[in-house]
């Protein structure tokens, strides 16, 4: 039997987290942080080793499969595996968590609990991407909520209780949809209930069922992604979180939504997807423009970046709805790219807050002279975020654009209107990001702020964290195939599946519920 890399990467951090109470520590976190960092790094190395030894990018199906009957009476099995949709996100998770552990260096308040939650989350999130059983997925999805909730509620800012409560209500509430739909899918068609993805893929769900299931899951995952108007937990949660939690929220948590959309909505419910895809595209465009505008008007730095995350996730939606291998590939790449760029920006926000003790842009200004390296890092990451070529954001957005525009699933006028609106984001993104840079760093020095003794330039640890994030950002930007080739086969198989389903939907008149709504008539071809 090959070494169970995936199970190891899930269980090792959780197991190590349980040992934290026994780590000798003075209570100031100086010992436990090394432990936390070591475990997170080891987890990262486990995932990398798994990728190198057990994963073959040319294979489209599941790999590194491991299945152990757990509670046969419940139909529950420990079933993990990875394909092109999971593997990059697993790597992203362990990578960002390791950096978050390093970013958490200054945490001195209840450090043991902090690292315990961080590591538990690491395992939980890898599980979300790796498990191949819907019940298990649901458990992992819920399991990861708890650490986030506590991380928000204990280490957050002034309004942390409100933000944490909102987060838990939103996510827990929406995840009920996952449970209901999961149960319905498991029981569909009689016979032994099954939660295995592969078994569910084989089931022939009726189109009507697919529509209801799709709608339910869309709400659940839409909260996570987030999709406007289900997004209002995010600015609050991000506005209150500390830097390492931030990195995890933006870097990984949002990707769970996109991943789940691909895994369940597209893969398991392709006919539902064929009907809902135009809505996804419209929602994606709304995300891009709406959140870009709100970000522009925001005066609070954290919230500004939080809204910019929402805006960027719009491209994921468009890509998923594009019915093209290129567009879907772009959506995948946008998730990875935003995971890296979003994490870097949020890390910088935290580092800046440590120095200025304010997040209000009105109270900043001209600090570029005192913090030159910080200024440079901010500039690089902002440019990455506004999709400058040579960095990953550009490639992913371009792939989504080209994929969508050349997609044959939509009428020309729909594509034209959506592409033009999405491209408005190309103008709006630099408007809010560069205004932000100008207000923080440019102009006359804010004397009161500059006289602060905390206002020192970036320290090596911070430069190191950002550099680690920039290496893949620039690497993907220069040669995107280093990333896209790892999931190419799976995405192509997925797109083939959804395209076939679209053909079925178009050729079965009357089977579709939503045809009455004119907006959703956009799929037109192929004949």
């Amino acid at each position: 039997m090959p070494f169970p890399w995936l199970s190891a990467s899930i269980l090792f951090p959780i197991g190590a987290a349980l040992l934290i109470p026994f780590v000798p520590d003075q209570g100031d976190g100086k010992q436990v942080r090394w432990y936390g960092l070591g475990v997170a790094l080891t987890t990262f190395l486990i995932t990398v080793a798994g990728y190198l030894n057990g994963y073959d990018p040319a294979v489209e199906g599941l790999q590194m499969v491991q299945r152990v009957e757990w509670l046969p009476r419940l139909g529950l099995a420990w079933s993990v595996g990875a394909d092109g949709i999971s593997m990059p996100l697993i790597l992203l998770t362990s990578f960002i968590t390791a950096l978050a552990a390093l970013a958490a260096w200054p945490v001195t308040f209840k450090p043991k609990l902090f690292y315990f939650l961080l590591l538990a989350m690491d395992g939980g999130q890898i599980a979300v991407f790796a498990v191949q059983d819907m019940l298990l997925f649901f458990l992992a999805w819920e399991l990861e909520l708890l650490p986030v909730y506590l991380l928000l509620a204990i280490w957050g800012g002034k309004k942390r209780q409100y933000a944490a409560t909102k987060f838990i209500l939103y996510t827990a509430g929406s995840s009920l949809f996952i449970l209901v739909v999961g149960l319905a899918m498991a029981f569909y068609g009689g016979g032994t209930p099954t939660f295995e993805y592969t078994a569910l893929m084989g089931k022939d769900f009726s189109t009507k069922f697919q529509l209801f299931a799709y709608a339910g899951l869309l709400i659940a995952f839409g909260v996570k992604l987030p999709i406007v108007p289900l997004h209002t937990w995010l600015p609050d949660a991000h506005g209150e979180a500390t830097a390492p939690v931030h990195m995890l929220l933006a870097g990984i948590l949002l990707k769970m939504g996109g991943y789940a959309l691909l895994r369940f909505n597209v893969q398991l419910l392709p006919e539902g997807h064929a009907q809902f895809a135009p809505l996804l595209v419209v929602l994606g465009v709304v995300n891009i423009i709406y959140a870009a505008l709100t970000s522009f008007a925001q005066r609070n730095l954290k919230r500004k970046i939080a809204y910019s995350s929402i805006s960027h996730m719009g491209f994921v939606l468009i890509g998923i709805g594009s019915f093209s291998a290129l567009g879907t590939s772009g959506a995948m790449l946008q998730m990875i790219s935003h995971g890296l760029i979003g994490a870097s920006l949020f890390f910088l926000v935290g580092a800046t807050y440590d120095r200025t003790h304010t997040l209000q842009l009105d109270e900043m200004g001209g600090v570029g002279q005192k913090m030159r390296k910080m200024f440079a890092l901010w500039t690089i990451c902002s440019l990455a975020s506004l999709a400058l070529p040579g960095m990953s954001g550009f490639v992913s957005e371009l792939m989504v654009f080209v994929g969508f525009v050349t997609s044959e699933a939509y009428t020309l006028s729909f594509r034209v209107v959506m592409a033009i609106l999405a491209a408005v984001g190309v103008i709006l993104t630099p408007v809010y990001l560069l205004s932000m840079l100008r207000e923080i760093f440019f102009g006359k020095e804010n004397v009161e702020l500059a006289s602060h003794s905390n206002l020192v330039d970036a320290e090596p640890r911070e430069i190191y964290v950002i550099s680690c994030l920039l290496v893949p950002i620039v690497g993907i930007g220069l040669y995107p195939r280093i990333m896209t080739d790892t999931y190419r086969a799976s995405i192509e198989a997925l797109v083939q599946r959804e395209t076939l389903a679209m053909g079925r939907v178009i050729h079965t008149p009357g089977s579709n519920l939503i045809r009455q709504a004119s907006l959703l008539q956009a799929p037109a071809l192929p004949g």
């Binding site: 009476r73 708890l146 291998a325 102009g443």
Partner: protein, 671 residues
């Protein structure tokens, strides 16, 4: 041994490697690297210098008749889609390579003098190398998408360099404005590229041209759609090459250090738009509507730039509007279907305008010794005058530049501008009239700049004017010389050191001579770019056609110069009295730059801010309001929320989680 063309990828990579090395050094060992001024400068100059040597080797091969070289690799792929990237060397690219590297090296040498006392010296050189790399990458891009990549990168370098003195509010605003206005153009460019790819399935210039024509002929795409796509792509060059109405960023970009104005905002980056249009000729040529639009926009731009330049008091702003105007001429040539003429003007203009800007930098550098480091004072011509006595090299080269741009034979500007006017005369007579009148205006405003700066009495010590200027700029008296007491200021300016004088002298040579490569009866330039067309031009050349047109241009230029001499050298005519006072509306219109900035500010800047604020209102009041309301209602009352806010919410989370587990167990029991 591989040929120079096969090694052309090294041309952008060498400066990039240098820039990355120094950039990493700056971030990791800031203090140490900042102290290594000369080594860094030498390293980066030799990187760009090596690129220049290679570029000339490439150019020599092209002159010897080597064909185009293209090397591609598969950059991105998904499904059936494959995107190639790589590089392509042909005559057009080789000319640009040589031009860009030459001016970049000269500007870098010049910057060693100009930025000698700046604390950002090393950073400045790094940005310069980074820019050179991006610009050179743009030049050798084999397809539209790769051009877009480097297009954005030069825009980023421009952003960084315009905002170089980031403690100045003006620079901060100008940098952002430059980037955003260019993004508006890129919005069109991106959509155009996407549309052309949809229509033709290709990003390559020739393929797009051929496939588009085929599609239109075959009826799968209507003529109107093709025109719209072409014009969308043209939005990119409009922004980058400062064409009306997207030119507004260029004059503001003068907030950057002057070497940047010479390199980026006069000679190379702003010419990228013209270059792209030249590259896209196979696409644009079949569509008359596109060509006419380009020509008309070019004409509006050339007139607008020249008219605003008439009233500028700021030396650099005057040159900036002159650049806008000259770019308009290049676009006009493109619209007339004469890319060779446009490219020729691009080359000649690059040399003499770079020289003029570097000259203005030399003046500003000298003025700063007298009036202090305050751009409002150091760049205003009302405080200059009589500088010829103090700065012989600068004044001589500046004068050569003025003669060249005014279009007096045999200097460079004459040949290239005259060729454009000749083309316009044949294609669009009405536009020719505008171009012709503007030629006179050009001569006038350039000599106005020259006389106000270099002739007459030196006015730099006039405290009354200085105070007036500061007041007009909204800066209180005295704060301009912070940390630099009056005692340190010199009585009169001095000529700049060799680092700055040498590039001026070097650039003067092509400014005088390079035009002779493009004489209409024997144009070596045209033969290199388009041998077929060169032969045709030479064949159709007749002195009877050339002399009247050329004579008319020279006459109107001379008239412009004469007016400037009468008004500013001999002081026979007081234009302020004679014209400005009599037509206050016109004067105000020009002084306010056609009110375009005001309109932009009102319509777009404030409009978008207002829109963004109202969206945020909606977000926090309506969308989030509904959420909070729902939350309240589910919990029964406001007391409920308080309950959760007082810290027992963890408990609730446990309930949620416990509920989930319970559900699972329950389900298990049922199953």
């Amino acid at each position: 041994m591989p040929s120079a063309a096969e090694l052309a990828w090294l041309i952008p990579v060498l400066p990039l490697a240098g820039a990355c090395l120094v950039g990493l050094g700056l971030i990791s060992f800031n203090r140490t690297v900042n102290r290594l001024r000369k080594p860094v400068a030498w390293l980066l100059i030799s990187c760009v210098g090596a690129a220049a040597v290679l570029s000339y080797a490439v150019l020599a091969q092209q002159l010897a008749g080597a064909g185009p070289t293209e090397v591609l690799f598969n950059w991105a792929s998904a499904g059936t889609f494959n995107l190639q990237m790589g590089f392509r060397v042909d005559a057009l690219g080789a000319v640009m390579l040589a031009l860009v590297t030459t001016i970049a090296v000269l500007v870098m040498v010049y910057s060693d003098g100009y930025m000698a006392h700046d604390k950002g010296y090393v950073r400045f050189f790094t940005y310069l190398a980074l820019f050179s790399s991006s610009m050179l990458g743009l030049v050798i891009s084999p397809n539209l998408l790769e051009i877009y990549v480097f297009w954005e990168l030069v825009g980023m370098c421009s952003y960084l360099l315009v905002g170089f003195w980031y403690d100045r509010d003006g620079a901060a605003n100008a940098a952002q404005k430059a980037f955003v206005v260019n993004r508006v153009g890129d919005f069109g460019l991106l959509l155009g590229i996407l549309g052309l790819f949809w229509a033709t399935g290709s990003f390559g210039f020739e393929e797009i041209g051929a496939n588009l024509q085929e599609a239109v002929a075959g009826g799968s795409i209507s003529n109107g759609v093709a025109v719209v796509l072409c014009l969308l792509v043209f939005m990119g060059p409009m922004a980058k090459s400062a064409q009306f109405p997207l030119h507004v960023w260029l004059p503001d970009a003068m907030e950057g250090p002057t070497p940047i104005s010479a390199l980026i905002h006069a000679a190379t980056m702003v010419a990228a738009g013209v270059f792209l249009v030249a590259r896209l000729q196979p696409v644009y040529e079949p569509f008359a509507a596109v060509q006419v639009t380009i020509a008309v926009i070019g004409t509006i731009t050339l007139f607008l730039g020249a008219s605003i330049a008439l009233t500028q008091q700021d030396l650099k702003k005057g040159l900036a509007y002159s650049t806008v105007s000259q770019l308009g001429y290049m676009m006009l040539a493109m619209g007339c279907g004469a890319p060779v003429a446009g490219m020729f003007h691009l080359v000649t203009h690059a040399f003499f305008k770079a020289m003029l800007f570097l000259g203005s930098g030399s003046v500003i550098h000298a003025m700063e010794e007298v009036v202090g480091h305050e751009p409002v004072l150091a760049q205003d011509m009302r405080l200059m005058g009589g500088l010829r006595k103090f700065m012989p090299v600068t004044s001589t080269t500046f004068l050569i530049g003025c003669v060249a741009i005014a279009g007096i034979p045999p200097l460079a500007g004459f040949w290239s501008k005259d060729e454009i006017l000749g083309q316009a005369f044949n294609s669009f007579p009405l536009l020719w009239v505008m171009g012709f009148i503007t030629a006179g205006m050009t001569a006038f405003y350039m000599f106005r700049l020259y006389f106000l700066t270099f002739e007459g009495e030196f006015r730099g010590k006039d405290q009354a004017i200085a105070a007036q200027l500061l007041a007009a700029a909204g800066k209180g008296g005295g704060d301009h010389d912070e940390g630099e007491p009056h005692g340190h200021l010199a009585d009169h300016p001095h000529e700049s050191g060799w680092q700055m004088a040498l590039p001026l002298a070097v650039l003067a040579v092509p400014s005088v001579l390079i035009g002779l490569l493009g004489t209409p009866w024997n144009s070596r330039f045209a033969r290199l770019l388009d041998p077929h067309e060169a032969a045709e031009i030479a064949e159709h050349f007749s002195w009877g056609e050339f002399l009247p047109l050329a004579g008319a241009s020279v006459a109107i230029s001379t008239a412009g110069i004469g007016l400037a001499v009468a008004a500013y050298a001999l002081r026979r005519i007081d234009l302020g009295q004679a014209v400005a006072a009599r037509f206050p509306a016109v004067n105000a219109f020009l002084a306010n730059k056609w009110y375009l900035d005001a309109i932009n500010d009102k319509l777009f800047v404030r409009g978008s801010r207002k829109l963004a604020r109202s969206v945020l209102e909606v977000d926090s009041k309506v969308v989030d309001g509904v959420v909070n309301l729902t939350g309240l209602m589910t919990l029964g009352s406001g007391e409920g929320l308080k309950y959760f806010e007082t810290g027992r919410a963890q408990f609730y989370a446990l309930i949620v989680f416990g509920g989930v587990i319970a559900l699972v167990v329950l389900f298990g029991a049922l199953g």
